[in-house]
């Protein structure tokens, strides 16, 4: 079966700081349209992204801030022009057949971008009208969505006064208004309280059960793990690993990660640790530490402490984590997702 979302060799190079729509660019200030010479540093946002998302799948793009997630979504939703490479939504080349592609997609941007001149209900009604829904259909769907997202009591107020969480719910309701085949959610649960997050997950699963394809970006491991059937881990504009959450987790050597801190660096100690039974890999980490991948966790601690004591090195900190996507990311990039 054809892919719902497909990209080949997608590259994007910004000649200046990426605009607000494309990435979390709180660090960059936007100048008023005019580019000065010193701004012309090139930023490689995407460096050859290949994606294949099957219809009806919940697909997760996982990566830290600035990894290229939003740029990927931007290109797939016609909002960012790729420097090279091609992206398709179903059979439509996103850049060449923009209108056809736009008919297939619903988009929730990272920051709420609601039409502040309108009330919540009007936003949904006009959105439905842009997509050619009949007025009866519009009314019905708007009521349903307002109810589902618990916004009915604020439906006829201007969204300008909404809280961040309400705006986020409203953005998602709007994206679902025309019942798109493919739904893009860029960091959908950032800023939501835990209760609303669970509601959102439920709604996403429900929408998926109607056979719709969902692509969501997140830097939240728990979310990726809970929702996604397929994942691609992205860093510095490249996909560094992909597969189901299960296979990805299974691909980490050993599975368990023990982050150790020692009083000082000692190569003999690292060599000794590598020989302990169950240890598959020892990687030096900063400040005399070591990251140890192993097939067991707590039961190794005593042996590690003994080995350190025998070589006169003080073990100052131990952190054990079970097999997780977080560890997978750390394994591939040497950095934590939250860094």
């Amino acid at each position: 079966m054809d892919s719902a979302i497909r990209t080949r060799e997608l590259r994007k190079i910004y000649n200046s700081a990426p605009p607000a729509a494309a990435g979390r660019t709180g660090l960059f200030s936007q100048s008023g349209g005019k580019k000065t010479k010193d701004q012309k540093q090139q930023i490689i946002a995407l460096d050859g992204i290949d994606l294949d998302v099957a219809p009806g799948q919940i697909f997760g793009l996982l990566g830290p801030n600035g990894a290229g997630k939003s740029t990927t979504v931007g290109i797939l939703t016609t909002r960012v022009r790729p420097t090279s490479g091609t992206a398709w939504i179903g059979p439509h080349d996103v850049w060449r057949e923009q209108t056809a592609a736009k008919l297939q997609i619903g988009v929730v941007a990272q920051r709420p971008n609601l039409d502040f001149s309108l009330t919540a209900r009007e936003i949904l009604l006009f959105h439905g009208a842009y997509f050619g829904l009949s007025s009866h259909e519009r009314m019905q769907r708007a009521n349903l969505l307002l109810d589902r997202f618990k916004l009915t009591d604020r439906a006829d107020q201007l969204v300008r006064g909404f809280s961040g969480g309400m705006m986020q719910r409203m953005s998602i309701a709007r994206a679902m208004m025309h019942d798109p085949q493919v739904l893009f959610l860029d960091e959908p649960s950032v800023g939501l309280d835990p209760q609303t997050r669970l509601l959102l997950w439920e709604i996403i699963r429900e929408y998926n059960q109607k056979g719709r394809t969902i692509l969501l970006t997140t830097h939240n491991m728990e979310e990726a793990d809970a929702l996604c059937e397929e994942l691609a881990i992205i860093d510095h504009g490249r996909i560094i690993a992909s597969g189901t959450p299960g296979t990805l987790k299974a691909s980490i050597p050993g599975g368990y990660l023990l982050r150790l801190r020692f009083g000082h660096h000692s190569q003999p100690l690292h060599d000794r640790l590598a020989t302990l039974s169950g240890v598959t890999e020892v990687r030096p980490a900063g400040n005399g530490g070591a990251d140890l991948y192993a097939s067991r966790g707590g039961s190794l601690i005593a042996e590690i402490a003994n080995a350190a004591a025998a070589l006169g090195v003080e073990l100052s900190d131990v952190h054990i984590s079970e097999p997780s996507l977080e560890n997978l990311f750390l394994h591939h990039t040497g950095r934590s997702l939250r860094e």
Binding site: Y14, P18, P19, A20, A21, A22, Q30, S31, G32, G33, G74, T77, T78, R79, V80, R81, Q98, T99, A100, K102, L103, I105, V107, A109, R111, P112, N113, L114, D115, F116, S117, L118, E122, I123, F126, H127, A129, Y130, F131, G132, R174
Partner: protein, 256 residues
Amino acid sequence: MNWKAFLALLARDAHVARRNLAPLILQTFLQPLLFVFIFGRVMVGSGYMPATYKSLLLPGIMAISMVFTGVWAVAMPLISEFQFTREIEDRLLAPIDLPWVAIEKVVAGLIQALVAGLMVIPLAWLILRPGLELHINNPLLLVVITLLVAGFSACGGLALGCSVSQQHIGLMFSMVMTPMIFFGCTYYPWSALSKFPILAKIVLINPLVYASEGLRAALVPQFPHLWLPMILVALTAFDILLLVLGLRQFRAKAVS
């Protein structure tokens, strides 16, 4: 071309305009009407200005109102909607080719400019009568000129709205709009500049000159005005130029 989406976009702008009707009307008409009152009524009534000035003034006031309304109606929403909040995003994602989203804004601004222009005539007539002498010899000419003026103001709004950032709005009005109005042959006919030959040439780059002179030709042909074919060609050229420029700027703003 997806007409359903286009009309829905237009309906959205009409809805928002209706919601802001009162401030919109004040903002459009207060300044020109005060001007009409002071120059057309007070100055003429007290004898500092000849009575014929009333008729000379009206087309200029109409041009100012139309241009101000068109520019404001298109530029201001674009400037704020392209800002940090990216409010325009849902319209950029509507299933319609991107330039049509901009053209819809132009059409909305054009309609508002037309309404403003057509409302100035009766309002000014109320303040200025008696003694106001309008001679609409050629209604078709009035229609064509009014449409071209509305078009250039809306296209100008698009070009400005996609080039100016929020913190420069004040600058836009003091650096672009104000000199444009004062050097736009609005309060005086172009022929009044004959004693300033260099200035008379320079102001010809100002599209408002052709708007005022064109409306003068259509409403009060008894006064001297620029050669009509030149007015029509210049207004058409400004319409096209500003539209092309505006669409280019719009795309640059909309797609990164």
